[in-house]
Symmetry: C2
Subunit: 142 residues, 2 copies
């Protein structure tokens, strides 16, 4: 992962209990590895369209953490100045996505499962869904 140049973005590793062929457990607990307490959890499944892109927005304030639980997916992040792109393919190695971070998900493998922890309930007014609008909002931010 080369996220160090991108603002509001960092790798996160969750507790992982490896049971070999009996499978592994990955755990996210309040007060644990996530830098916020989660009030919403959502997951993406069943992406089969070859050119499918999910995300493609930023948030004004929302903090999230994103993990790929099965298969693999490519995550592109962009803080308005710097960009990074990485493949997620380990259930316990994800990415913290802070505010003002344009993000896109693509190259979903068959059976890919993307899990997201969010620090707040859904709030449509927190979304920036237009890229130029996002850039203008970042520029205007202190």
């Amino acid at each position: 992962m080369r996220l160090d140049e991108v603002a509001n973005c960092a790798p996160i590793t969750l507790q992982h209990i490896d049971g070999g062929a009996n499978g592994s457990l990955t755990v996210a607990e309040y007060g644990g590895a996530l830098p916020f307490e989660f009030r919403r959890v959502y997951y993406m499944t069943g992406v089969t369209a070859p050119g499918a892109v999910r995300g493609r927005h930023a948030h004004k304030t929302l903090e999230q953490a994103l993990f790929c639980l099965n298969g693999s997916v490519r995550l592109d992040v962009d803080d308005g100045m710097h960009k990074a792109s990485l493949v997620l393919d380990k259930p316990n190695e994800g990415v913290y996505l802070g505010p003002l971070l344009w993000h896109e998900l693509r190259d979903f493998s068959p059976g890919c499962v993307v899990l997201v922890f969010a620090a707040a309930e859904h709030d449509e007014s927190d979304y920036l869904r237009d890229y130029d609008g996002f850039l203008a909002y970042v520029k205007a931010s202190p």
Copy 2:
């Protein structure tokens, strides 16, 4: 699902936004479909041993909700009087697991992902890991 005879156990359906080949979103939010607020989320992945069984315990007080996000898995539940067994294979159709419910997971398909929401942090003293001890505990409960 034929869970109606088993105590402390019920089907749960989460909000599901179907995007066709672009995949679907399943959402669990505080104050939403889950009958408790989650303070821990964990997931099982990479179960490849043919006869693997996970779970195989009950809790004295913990409430949980279990979902299969990819592939399929068989869940056996047992309240000490009645048993049920069902296959989970839809990302938004899971099971509420209340206290005093022996549960086992088996027949993990390749790529199976099991996600669990738990109402409390891990507490080893809340576990009943011996089946006869579980039956005795249930009998002694009011």
